[in-house]
């Protein structure tokens, strides 16, 4: 008895969509416990989303249709990416061939671009500041991602995420390879930036001048705001999945289409994501937020790691 492939494909998207707010909840909970607080329950993000969905949606005066369309487009993008990456299975699913790592990256940046444009539509200084900053720093993180992709391409000869995950599983020599470790570390630093975690941004902050990602949906409200929040948690889980299932620990994925294996893969992914969430919560609690113009240094460090990864492979033969 095995599940039809399209069902597994749908399950990949569903897992990301349903579990994403929960991962944020786990991080918030662990962070609170580390600070000696009791913290919100893990399901709190779901309740927040439900509450927002019941509220009235308002648009600023003068904003065009794009302002309201942006959250839908962004969420659509986030729902597309799980089709391309190994979420549950170690074997590529049919739609996984639609795009490689770069393709996934493009879709993620499209989502972020659409949200930034919607923030510009509003005319609100905070939202505009946020989108301007997000795009400024994204221009520096993009090269890092590119170099990580180059590393993957040099290691596997393709840039399909499934191929890298298989390569990492293939031997211990692949894991201790410096290029692999450097690319993984660089990607982790990019993820810290992209998900707006310390040392780049305070995640749970209210109004403050250091805001980047959090400032962009300022003018959205009601269900649209819920979509944006849900989208950002999905983006977080997608990036976690790429790091975990492609680079860091590509084990525990289903090798067959049997329901038990797929179910186990879901549990494994959630467990791994929660583990990564704990690590991120610890980082959140151990570092101060960088001042805005120090973020370039943080990204420069990530860039250095990824460039060194390519050097050791391409010039050093490591």
């Amino acid at each position: 008895m095995s599940l039809p492939i399209p069902v597994i494909q749908a399950l990949q998207v569903l897992t990301i969509a349903v579990a994403a707010p929960g991962v944020s909840g786990v991080i918030a909970r662990v962070e609170a416990r580390l600070q000696g607080r009791r913290g919100p329950r893990i399901g709190q993000p779901y309740f927040d989303l439900a509450k927002l969905c019941r509220k009235e949606a308002l648009a600023p005066e003068g904003a065009s249709w794009f302002f309201l369309a942006a959250p839908l487009v962004a969420v659509t993008c986030y729902l597309t990416v799980p089709l391309l990456i190994p979420v549950l299975t170690s074997y590529p699913l049919p739609l996984g061939y639609m795009g490689d790592i770069l393709g996934g990256g493009f879709i993620l940046s499209l989502a972020s671009f659409v949200v930034a444009v919607a923030a510009l539509e509003t005319g609100s200084p905070y939202a505009q500041l946020g989108s301007s900053r997000a795009k400024t720093f994204a221009a520096i993180t993009e090269p890092v991602v590119l170099f990580v992709v180059f590393t993957v391409a040099l290691v596997t000869g393709t840039d399909l995420p499934y191929a890298l995950a298989a390569t990492v599983r293939s031997s211990a020599g692949q894991i201790v390879r410096p290029a692999h470790l450097l690319a993984t570390a660089a990607l982790f630093m990019v993820i810290l930036y992209e998900t707006g975690r310390i040392p780049v941004e305070t995640h749970t902050g209210t109004n403050e001048f250091g805001m980047i990602e959090e400032a962009r949906p300022f003018e959205h409200s009601g269900p649209y705001f819920a979509l944006l929040k849900w989208g950002s948690t999905m983006k977080q889980l997608i990036l976690f999945t790429i790091l975990l299932n492609v680079f860091l620990v590509p084990w525990g994925l289903a090798a067959t289409a049997r329901p038990a294996d797929v179910g186990l893969a879901i549990v494994a992914l959630l467990g791994k994501a929660a583990g990564l969430g704990v690590v991120i919560a610890v980082i959140d609690n151990s570092f101060a937020k960088l001042r805005l113009f120090k973020i370039t240094e943080f990204v420069a460090a990530a860039f250095l790691l990824s460039v060194l990864g390519v050097f050791t492979l391409y010039l050093g033969g490591g």
Partner: protein, 284 residues
């Protein structure tokens, strides 16, 4: 390549996963890979020293780097059966992890000034030490420390761009090291070639560090870490070198420490600062 991989995937192998197709060519062995990783750590710590503004932390990073080199010596000794290297590792650990940092810290305490000078290319003052090793390199009081002779220091770069430019310069120097070793085609017997490239990169980045920094302690640390790069290269090319020679090199380092110690004392006594920027005014 992509199409070939896809074509292979569409076969009956889909259900078995692409493990069989994982690129197997050019994979270093586990020993080679871990040796390379330690060499990469040495290089990253060099970059950490490059960015670190607090002299105390810079010395700490130097000790960590020396420890990494000793660990690599132990790895080579164990994997390649060169028992002399255990002795060398122990000696170099004692000297470079314990004694040299101790001496430097004592000198620093005498000088009573803890923040590194700005660079010729206006090194941003607070750095992310090393990037990976969760650095606590957040010097709080760096801005507060004054007492740098001369107005040269007015251009202490706070802009991330200026700091990034020196980092890019160092990265380019490191890339040149990789490129040079690749062109020369030297192959070590005990370690993979990437380790030699990394050693060369460490030496070149140490050079850039010494050029960019404008204070005696940083320059001394740069010089000592350069020696770490050289011992790394020696491990790659000539692990079977007679022990007496290796030890002689180590004692060379001791001489350098004494010379730098005297230099720091004399310089601090003369100019009341660790910065070498004031030296231009002492002429004539």
């Amino acid at each position: 390549m992509t199409t070939a991989w896809l074509a292979a995937q569409h076969g009956p192998a889909v259900q078995h996963g692409p493990e069989a197709l994982a690129a197997a060519h050019g994979v270093p062995s586990v020993f080679g890979g871990s040796a390379n990783v330690v060499a990469v750590v040495v290089l990253l710590l060099e970059f950490g020293m490059f960015r670190q503004a607090l002299l105390r932390d810079q010395i700490r990073l130097y000790a960590a780097q020396s420890a990494a080199v000793s660990v690599l010596a132990v790895i080579v000794a164990a994997a390649r059966h060169v028992p002399e290297l255990y002795v060398l590792a122990a000696l170099s650990a004692a000297l470079k992890v314990v004694i040299v940092p101790l001496v430097m810290r004592r000198l620093l305490r005498g000088a009573g000034d803890d923040s590194a000078g700005s660079g010729a290319l206006s090194l941003a003052s607070v750095g992310w030490g090393g990037g990976v090793e969760a650095s606590g390199g957040w010097g709080g009081g760096v801005e507060a420390s004054g007492g740098w002779g001369g107005g040269v220091e007015a251009s202490r770069g706070w802009g991330g761009g200026a700091g990034a430019s020196t980092l890019l310069l160092a990265t380019a120097a490191g890339a040149f090291g990789f490129f040079a070793v690749g062109t020369l085609g030297i192959a070590g017997v005990t370690l993979p070639q990437a380790a030699l490239s990394l050693a060369m990169a460490v030496v070149l980045v140490a050079f850039v560090l010494m050029i960019v920094r404008r204070d005696v302690v940083s320059q001394a640390v740069g010089f000592f870490s350069l020696e770490n790069g050289v011992s790394l290269a020696a491990l790659v090319i000539a692990a079977h070198m007679p022990l007496i020679l290796e030890v002689a090199f180590l004692f060379d380092l001791l001489v350098a420490v004494i010379v730098f110690g005297v230099l720091i004392r004399v310089h601090h006594g003369l100019s009341e600062s660790l910065s070498t920027a004031g030296l231009t005014r002492l002429r004539g």
